[in-house]
Every structure is written in structure tokens, then in C-alpha cells.
């Protein structure tokens, strides 16, 4: 039933100049402040950044779930398969949500009803969106539980969410999200609450399902290790802005922004010698009271006078690599030189 599989250069999603502000006692929180990006069909986009950088609000904005008030999408376009979701009626958006765009969250209990059997929750999805009969919906629910690897699915379908372990609940939520074969899956920290071995299970599952169905994915996480293995493109967010965006491999190999470089260096590398870890000094800024100039200036190790005065430009480095920094070109060239040096030393 996918409508016009119209071709926007193969883009399933195009976000342009999105701004979402919250009106709080402390002033206007510019949670997302003028971000733009595209997602092609079948691709996975990662969004990384520290707590409060605007990752979740970006995605709540895309699916129009920003709590209003205090929140408000003040500008921008979210073009999903040719339609601007921000100007559609609530009714039309509700039809897209769950059916064509599905979400999974860090805490599965935000999507699961604790008082309803798992089978019924899955059945409601396909009865509502795909017009399944009770019988069809039930069989589909069982099939989905099997797909996500719930052992003995037919018996477990009659359980309530609290009767599952954390990892299994996450699977049930994924089964629910994928039950209508959405074109876009948004996963907000889907494994943050889980142990590494269970995290590995869930990530493998998302990869496998993606390969099988061709679903596009937006994966939000603060773990650079996860995005390294799971994504094609990457956005690095800081204080409501995109600080850098690039294909994942390129971003790791030749970062063009001091914040990205700092983030990459502050993750311990298990294969390297121990020693002092690089640390970004200071704290993420309070987005209600940003100073003029670059929001990272107070923490940046190559800050210049201009950074305190002028907001940095979003510099295009290569066809699909951009960085928000007065010195983006220099930083990028340094990364390239470092890359060349380290690959020489590996020979």
C-alpha cells in the first residue's frame, strides 16, 4: 500500500531548517535549532550527541509528538515520501505513525501497555493499520514474535509485559514497531538500558530485519561504538545544532570538527595502551542561555577570538561532509594528515 514511491533523489525523508523550542520558566529552550538532513531509502542514519543535545526532540518533531505546550515546532519542513508531515492534519499523521513510520524507545514500557496481553497489543496494530481480522492479526502477532526471537512465541503471546525480561520486552516492542512493515524505523537509545550481551542480540536483530525488509532506520545513541557498526551516515548534535554530518566511515576517519574529534578521542580504545584519556573539559551548555558565538567555544581546545564573537558557518568539506566551525577546513586537513600518518605507521 505504500503510496507514491516517488523519487526525491531516492530520499525517503528530507528535514529542512527544523526548529523546535520549549517555553520554560528559565526562558526559551532552543532544543532543536535549524537542522537539515536527508535519509535515503534503505539507509541507516545515526544521531549522536551528549545528553540534552536535541536528539530525541529531533525525532519527536519528525513524528509530531512534541509535547505542546511547552514545546512548539517553530519552523521547518519534514518531507516524508513527498509529503510535509508538519502541515498534514493530525488525522493523516496518526495514520502514518505506526503504519509507515514506527518508533522504539529506550524504555519499552513507554510503548507497552502493562495491563494488556502482548498478543492483543500486537493485534491492535495490524487491525488498526492493515485492517486485519482477529484471526489474521493473531497469526501475524505470533509470526512477529517468532521473527524477533521470542522462544515459544505462541505460549508467550498470552503473557503480560512484566512477565518478560528487559531484553525480551525490547524484542516485543520491536515486533510491534515492525508489524506493519514501516518504511522508516526510529530507534531512540534502543539498547541503552540493556546489558552488552543482550544489546548485541538486539542490534543483530535490527540489522537482520533491516536487511530483510529494506526499512530505513534512524538510530539515536550516545555510544559511538554502536553507530560505527550500524549506520551509513552520521549526525553529531551539540546544543540543538548539527555540528558535523558525514558518511559514518568518513566521519570516524577524518572528522572536520573539534567537538567530534574530542568525542572520538574521549572513548577508551580497548586495543590501545592505557594512559590518560583525552577529556573535553567543562560541561554541555545550558541551551536556554547560550552565549553568542560558537556554543562549544567554552570547551574547545582550538578556540580563537572569533569563536566567542561570531556563530560559525556550516562548511561543506566534501560532497556529503559538513562541519559547523570557523576552522572546519583546517580541522579536516589535520585529520587527513593524521590519518595518513597512522596508516603509514601501520604498514
Amino acid at each position: 500500500m505504500p503510496l507514491s514511491k516517488m523519487n526525491n533523489n531516492g530520499n525517503l525523508l528530507e528535514v529542512t531548517d527544523l526548529r523546535t523550542y520549549f517555553d520554560t520558566e528559565d526562558g526559551i529552550v532552543k532544543a532543536v535549532d535549524g537542522i537539515s538532513f536527508q535519509l535515503k531509502r534503505g539507509e541507516t542514519l545515526g544521531i549522536v550527541g551528549e545528553s540534552g543535545s536535541g536528539k530525541s526532540v529531533t525525532n519527536l518533531s519528525i513524528i509530531r509528538l512534541v509535547p505542546t505546550p511547552p514545546g512548539k515546532i517553530v519552523s521547518g519542513k519534514v518531507i516524508f515520501d513527498g509529503q510535509n508531515l508538519l502541515t498534514l492534519s493530525n488525522e493523516a499523521v496518526r495514520h502514518i505513525r505506526g503504519r509507515r513510520i514506527a518508533m522504539i524507545f529506550q524504555d519499552p514500557m513507554t510503548s507497552l501497555n502493562p495491563f494488556m496481553k502482548v498478543s492483543r497489543q500486537l493485534m491492535e496494530m495490524t487491525r488498526l493499520h492493515l485492517g486485519h481480522t482477529k484471526q489474521q492479526a493473531y497469526e501475524h502477532a505470533i509470526k512477529m514474535l517468532e521473527t524477533v526471537g521470542i522462544p515459544d512465541a505462541r505460549a508467550r503471546a498470552n503473557n503480560y509485559p512484566h512477565e518478560f525480561s528487559g531484553g525480551m520486552r525490547q524484542r516485543v516492542m520491536i515486533a510491534m514497531a515492525l508489524s506493519c512493515e514501516p518504511e522508516l524505523l526510529i530507534a531512540d537509545e534502543p539498547t541503552t538500558a540493556l546489558d552488552v550481551t543482550i544489546q548485541a542480540q538486539i542490534l543483530e536483530l535490527i540489522k537482520r530485519l533491516k536487511q530483510a525488509t529494506g526499512t530505513s532506520v534512524i538510530l539515536i545513541t550516545h555510544d559511538l561504538g554502536i553507530v560505527a557498526g550500524m549506520t551509513d551516515h552520521l549526525l553529531v548534535m551539540y546544543a540543538g545544532k548539527i555540528f558535523e554530518q558525514a558518511p559514518t566511515k568518513e566521519l570516524f576517519a577524518t572528522p572536520g570538527n573539534p567537538y567530534t574529534k574530542g568525542l572520538l578521542r574521549s572513548v577508551p580504545d580497548p586495543t590501545a595502551e592505557q594512559g590518560e584519556l583525552y577529556q573535553i573539559p567543562g560541561l554541555p551548555p545550558d541551551v536556554a542561555h547560550l552565549p553568542p558565538g560558537c556554543p562549544f567555544a567554552a570547551r574547545c581546545d582550538r578556540v580563537q577570538e572569533i569563536c566567542h564573537r561570531e556563530f560559525p558557518p556550516f562548511v561543506q568539506l566534501t560532497a556529503d561532509h559538513c562541519s559547523l566551525c570557523h576552522f572546519a577546513h583546517e580541522v579536516y586537513e589535520e585529520s587527513r594528515a593524521e590519518g595518513a600518518r597512522s596508516s603509514e605507521s601501520n604498514l
Partner: protein, 365 residues
């Protein structure tokens, strides 16, 4: 699970190994058990026979999945929970046998910092009161002296001394963690249990706190038990690493060795599950994905507790509780399918259990 098939009488429990090495340990843990009684006359076997030495000046990393007993072990060392059996020796003193006064004297040398900087600080006390409280409890300083000490401590952990009059809610997660560390340092401890001290923090702040803990260790010759489920952090801060599974230690080795050369199948899976922040490595990496969840510590599997998820399991694994054996120098692992002669489980003949003989020798000695 096929635990019902095995006859409990046939289960062999082997004695823990005596560790060789680095002179007298600061903390010696001997066959420690902590059981929590629950309804129906049953027990949660949170810690079930742990033996390990912690040496002065080292950081011992403790990893394992949630619920495997890490926090309980850390708390039992400090006697914040009462051990069910076994010993904890601090400088060769059995803490359980000391009088209240003697315990108090030693107790101040053992401190803890917690995962959740939000929950572990009293919201109604000022930072000055929080950090100064142990000075009073252990009668170390009062009045002006105490005030001055608190200011010094705040500066030691990288906070402004002007913060003394402020309340915890006015601080970020990383700053609160620093307050917790200042409080632990107040009494000049020599051993600190750091229970998931960075798990609730952002990446950039995690690096700050890890560096701070390492700096303090160098300056004050501290010994840490660093508990975390984050193997990358553990690898970074630890000298040695102990891996825990369902109440038991299953592998102990140098931090580098445990990463580069894990021997026991659970450790192998754990290490392979860690995402590496390098897309080139990730693209070609073979991951061991374990099936199923961690079993319940109320009714843990018989024999090797990992047998329900272990890809190398054979029938004997359900019957023999593998002891920690020194498979390579200073590298201990609990698995009957490997031995010092055959340390690589991949190369062991199908169905063979070379560790069984070595294990039986341990018993007969």
C-alpha cells in the same frame, strides 16, 4: 534448561585456588557468600563463593551483566551488607571478628562511591555538610578545621570551594559524582569501591571522572575495586579484571590479557559484544551473539552456571562446577574444557574436557 536431569549428588564443587603473587594483599576475600532470603524459604545467591586478593595500589576491575552480584560483592567487602559466610580480610584483619570500636577504626579506610550521583547525596544537605559529614562521624575534624578540609577536598576533585553552601540539585551529574568522590576522600581512605561511577554520565564527563580517579590514585596511593558493566571503561582504568557471572568469578587476568586473549567462553562473548568505535573494524568483525537471557540467581543452573548459554557446552558441564585454574601465568579461568596445556577452546577436540583432570588434581591435593 535441562537442570532437572542432573542428580544434585553428582555435582562436584571444587575448592577455590590460592593465588600466587604480589606479597600481602590489602583486601583478601575468601569464599565469600551473600545470600538474600526471599519468600518460600528460598535464597537469591547474589555472591556465591568468591575468592580473590586485591593488592595495594592496584585497580581491580569487576565486570558482569546486571544482577550478577557485582554491587553486592562490593558492599559486602565494606560490610554494608552482611556476608552469609566466608571472610574479608583487611590488612590481615578479619573485619567480622573485630569489636565495634576496632571496626570503626578500620572502616574509615574503606569507602564507596555510587553509580547514581542523584540518589546517593542527601538533597536537604549542602555540599559542605555532605562532604564534611564523615569528618564528624569519624572525629577527624570539627569547626574551622573541618571547613578548611572540605574546601581542600572540593578543589582536589575539581570543584570550586565556593560551592559549599549549595545543594546537590544545583549540580550536573558529573559534578555530583565529584561531590560523592570528595566525600569518600574526606577520611583519607586507602580502599575505594567505585560502583558504576560513570555509568550515569555523558561520554565527555565519563572521561573526566576516569581521569580524576586515576589522578587521585597516583597522588594518594589508593586501591580501587572499579565495578562496571562497560568493558571499555574497565579495560581503560584497571590493572587486573575479574569477570563475574551469576555470583561467581569466572575469569581473572591482566586488563590487557582479558581483552586480547579471553579464555573462558562467557568472557569471549562479553568482549566480542562490545561495540568498537571504528567502522572499519566493525564491518569485518565476527560477533559471538549469546542466546537467551541471564538465568535467575534464585535457581542458578547446576554445574557451570554458564552452561545454559554456552556454545561449547558438553554434558559434563552440567555436573561439574569449574574452579578457577591458572591457565596461563596470572590468567585464571573457570572452564572444564580448557587447561594449561590446551588453553584455546577452539582447538580442543569435540566433547573433550581437558580441564577436568586439572580440576580433579586441585581436589585431590
Amino acid at each position: 534448561m535441562s537442570t532437572q536431569e542432573t542428580n544434585p549428588d553428582s555435582i562436584v564443587e571444587m575448592p577455590p585456588p590460592i593465588e600466587s603473587g604480589h606479597g600481602d594483599p590489602l583486601i583478601a576475600i575468601r569464599d565469600l557468600k551473600v545470600y538474600f532470603p526471599i519468600a518460600g524459604n528460598r535464597n537469591v545467591k547474589a555472591v556465591d563463593g568468591v575468592t580473590i586478593d586485591i593488592y595495594a595500589g592496584e585497580t581491580l576491575g569487576l565486570v558482569g551483566e546486571s544482577g550478577c552480584g557485582k554491587s553486592t560483592l562490593g558492599r559486602a567487602i565494606l560490610r554494608l551488607v552482611e556476608p552469609t559466610s566466608g571472610q574479608v580480610l583487611y590488612r590481615n584483619n578479619d573485619l567480622a571478628k573485630l569489636s565495634t570500636r576496632e571496626l570503626r577504626k578500620h572502616r574509615r579506610h574503606l569507602q564507596i562511591i555510587f553509580q547514581d550521583p542523584y540518589a546517593s547525596l542527601n538533597p536537604r544537605m549542602t555540599v559542605g555538610q555532605i562532604v564534611g559529614e564523615p569528618l564528624d562521624t569519624f572525629r577527624i575534624a570539627r569547626g574551622r578545621g573541618a571547613e578548611q578540609r572540605v574546601q581542600e577536598l572540593l578543589e582536589t576533585v575539581g570543584l570550586s570551594k565556593r560551592f559549599t553552601k549549595r545543594y546537590p540539585h544545583e549540580f550536573s551529574g558529573g559534578q555530583r559524582q565529584r561531590i560523592g568522590i570528595a566525600r569518600a576522600l574526606a577520611v583519607d581512605p586507602d580502599f575505594i569501591v567505585a560502583d558504576e561511577p560513570i555509568s550515569a554520565l555523558d561520554v565527555s564527563i565519563q572521561a573526566q571522572i576516569m581521569n580524576l580517579l586515576e589522578k587521585l590514585q597516583r597522588e594518594k596511593n589508593l586501591t580501587y575495586l572499579f565495578i562496571s558493566h562497560d568493558l571499555r571503561a574497565i579495560r581503560h582504568v584497571s590493572d587486573r579484571v575479574a569477570v563475574m557471572y551469576l555470583g561467581k568469578l569466572v575469569e581473572i587476568a591482566g586488563a590487557k590479557a582479558i581483552y586480547a586473549d579471553p579464555l573462558m567462553p562467557y568472557t569471549k562473548a562479553l568482549i566480542s559484544a562490545v561495540p568498537v568505535p571504528d567502522p572499519v573494524v566493525e564491518a569485518t568483525r565476527q560477533r559471538i551473539v549469546l542466546e537467551g537471557d541471564v538465568p535467575s540467581p534464585i535457581n542458578p543452573p547446576t554445574g557451570c552456571r554458564f552452561h545454559t548459554r554456552c556454545p561449547y557446552m558438553i554434558e559434563t558441564c552440567k555436573q561439574v562446577v569449574p574452579p578457577l585454574v591458572e591457565i596461563k601465568p596470572n590468567h585464571f579461568a573457570a572452564c572444564i574444557r580448557i587447561s594449561p596445556d590446551q588453553p584455546d577452546i577452539e582447538k580442543v577436540a569435540p566433547g573433550a574436557a581437558p580441564g577436568l583432570e586439572a580440576a580433579e588434581q586441585v581436589i585431590s591435593q
